[in-house]
Symmetry: C2
Amino acid sequence: MKQSQVLIPTLKENPTDAEAISHQLMVRAGYINQISAGVYAYLPLALRVLQNIEKIIRQEMENIGAVEMLTPGILPADLWRQSGRYDTYGDNLFKLQDRHERDFILGPTHEETFTYLVKNVLNSYKKLPKVLYQIQTKYRDEDRPRYGLLRGREFIMKDAYSFTANRTDLDRIFDQMEQAYRNIYDRCGLDYRVILGDSGDMGGSGSKEFSAMAAIGEDTIVYSDSSDYAANLEMATSIIAPNQVEAPAELTSVATSRANTVEDMTDEYQVSASKILKSMAFMADDQPVLALIRGDYEVNEVKLKNALQAQELRPANEAEIKADFQSAVGFLGPVQMNTQVKIVADLSTQDLSNSLTGANQAGLNWQNVNPDRDYQVSDYLDFRTVKEGEVSPDQQGKLQFKRGIEIGHIFKLGTKYSESMAANFLDENGRQQPIIMGCYGIGISRLLSAVIEQHNDDHGIVWPWALAPYQVHVVEVNAKKEDQQCLGSEIEQMLTEAGFSVLVDDRKERAGVKFAESDLMGLPVRITIGKKAAEGIAEIKLRNQADSIEVHQNDLIESMRILLKNYK
Amino acid sequence: MKQSQVLIPTLKENPTDAEAISHQLMVRAGYINQISAGVYAYLPLALRVLQNIEKIIRQEMENIGAVEMLTPGILPADLWRQSGRYDTYGDNLFKLQDRHERDFILGPTHEETFTYLVKNVLNSYKKLPKVLYQIQTKYRDEDRPRYGLLRGREFIMKDAYSFTANRTDLDRIFDQMEQAYRNIYDRCGLDYRVILGDSGDMGGSGSKEFSAMAAIGEDTIVYSDSSDYAANLEMATSIIAPNQVEAPAELTSVATSRANTVEDMTDEYQVSASKILKSMAFMADDQPVLALIRGDYEVNEVKLKNALQAQELRPANEAEIKADFQSAVGFLGPVQMNTQVKIVADLSTQDLSNSLTGANQAGLNWQNVNPDRDYQVSDYLDFRTVKEGEVSPDQQGKLQFKRGIEIGHIFKLGTKYSESMAANFLDENGRQQPIIMGCYGIGISRLLSAVIEQHNDDHGIVWPWALAPYQVHVVEVNAKKEDQQCLGSEIEQMLTEAGFSVLVDDRKERAGVKFAESDLMGLPVRITIGKKAAEGIAEIKLRNQADSIEVHQNDLIESMRILLKNYK
């Protein structure tokens, strides 16, 4: 392909609104162009990368027997009313009406659509299992779209759905998907981790998340420095050292004039934060819950919500603290708490003796508080945010933190959607059962960003071989010269016949501009055609290496083969 | 691929709401499933056909140097406000708002988007020409979606846009596109015609439409029985026999008590309709226009609108006839017409002597009306709907009518969008000029319907080779038998290695069901594996032929090659 035919609007300067390196590079190198906040055009180079990724995904999906199809982007609201998500999905859902004022949404995900399509069709265990997938444009009306393709409002996803008659098949397909995803990310040249994920609002019994390591990542990945353990911060657990157990001392009330934060208490009473029994008020599905945690830890709301199996969880507001918890704000504590309030405690407090906590009255705390004797807990749960350096829950190694980009997520959905939408099958005994589902997503356009975050240098993008929009960049240093044009076209043909994809910079631009843009664009191999064109000599340089070599066109293909042996 | 893994929800009966054969067959054979009126899921078989079509399109686009990219489906309303189409496009435009109440649309076509993307980029004649295209999902909120994929609200299109510095390049690219489109339709096995098209609201100086012949088609194609002339009914012209010229008789008024339709007048005055000067009142861009036409012809509003170069044209209402035309309804006529009204006349009236027409007063007509003497016409134009049997405008042969499905449309847009959106380039003399544009569309999902309309029989679809979702259907008559399963898998592997795409019906269904569904599905070759499986013998049958032959598996590939020599 001649570069003069392609639309590659490069920029000399970084766009001012681009924080992420991948965003900067994709805009500067002419891969993408913003049409609206979080809505981008994929220009010719970016589309080729997307198509390379899609090809890999299709191969890996086919290998595990998943079958491709394509459902609509615009969906009748009724589908989502059936699952209940029309009302609960929140502001991220694009809603619209047609000319007859019927409600529609733009699909952010397609559990309902696929469930609707298989309902009454996969109506017997004989027709199960089935694994279906699509590669499709999705819509989420993000409040703060940013980082280019990383958090967009229109994006491309591969979403797969499995339908099985039993958990064994679900588990098998889930494992096959995990392996397929690993293959996909490996082939894309990504450094990633498979972590325990939060199932969030998807429902279901388990999930794994795939996270690409990158400083710009919005997720914190917790992993062991000496084992395979890895989890999203919202899911991570740890083993913490037991508390030093003391003989229970007498419960005493003490007055304070401070606001009574943990810092206030450690300062006023000269104790470490680990001796404070921090009490936090929440409303879980509209019921008051008091969550106890050691003063040196933080409550992780996602973990707490999951541990409580709540649909919705939020901190109680001042009015609720007064009315439902019958406590002064800042002085919450479990001792003599209103019996209408459910008290749950983090495992860090289970053996915490002689602690300090609020007495539910303004200006008053309790000293020497002890579990069982002074307060009762309905459940001990794990809802603290883990800290770096703690022992991994598999007892192997210590926990480390890294930033990551979520690039995939696979879920064991179970029967959440098949039950709400009555998608049933007859089992071997002729009994109606809800179909057991799984869903499996990869953010394709986002992968493009993740790969560039990991594959770049000071001069631009450095594409892994499998994803490069073109593998070879033939640069005619002075495209006005006939011998260079001539050799350029000859080499293009030679390479194309040898199976390489080739972009020929035939533009009549200054050499400096052409080299800088070539580096920016990041194709794996550059072949420079300059003064020795008449002799049939060109220069080969790999994008990820500094040196170049001169070769005669007759030796070009062979030299490329040798040079590329270790290029990935 | 094993059929047991694929989602193919066949139906025994035709869906009650499906009028078009292609719609019936696609639903019955499990290709598509309706999610909402005019919104369909492409099930696995349909997606494979779409992908086959897309592959052909990509090859033909690449051959003429068009470069693929992908723009968003959701577009900020401001883009369309710049071109003016946000307000003029009408109810077919899906409109929505994001969470911040900013206006968006779902793109029904992308002239504005591409113009926006090249603006300030293709800013010099040196960067022109460029031809860009995308394959993308489009949205049109049709009032009456119907015929399955033929008139949908969400559909897939290939849309290309050319940007040139001069008309010569536009003409060249337009011609290349026409040839590429012909290649595409030929490869899809379509019977089609290239016709003069109506540019409609796209603007621009010329267009060609590609129409697939089909009884269900919504367009009437007018073509000569002895030449290449073909046009949409909205564009067709003809040569009509001159009127018999009489010496002008005296203008006389005559009273009538009837409603004064053409039928009333021929009856009352015992004249042929061709002696009546029919007068019709229109509002063209809010100006009153009286259109005169011979009584035996109909005004074609699209032709009239184009001939008047009006943005908008509609019949005048009663109030306007009274106020602006100062006439009684039913008695319009050009004699002594209000001078504020523009009078245009169809060519059929130019030599019409001694005609009959309304006198603008209720119950009164003029007899012996003659042009120039009794009324003045500002322009003689061609705005009549042609009739079958008239002489082709190239004087070769007579006009015939056929129904057709619009499967493609190419437009010379000119500078309509570049001017309204200020997309300019510097020409060789350093002068700013608006970029000259063309646009070129193929309805891909609609092609699927058009092909099936032409390729079916009483038993189901009969796919052309190039589009078939799988080329070979291997049917295990009794899939419970191990020898049949075994031979089925062997033959699948053998065929796959020979480069065929294969679907194996491994389902444990009755043989009758399997054969009926196989015919319905329409794969070009069926290989039946039955009682002689243990001997390695199977039966080959082409979908478009009645006979089958028995072959040993060792001779299978060779036999297929011979049989398929003439299959298209």
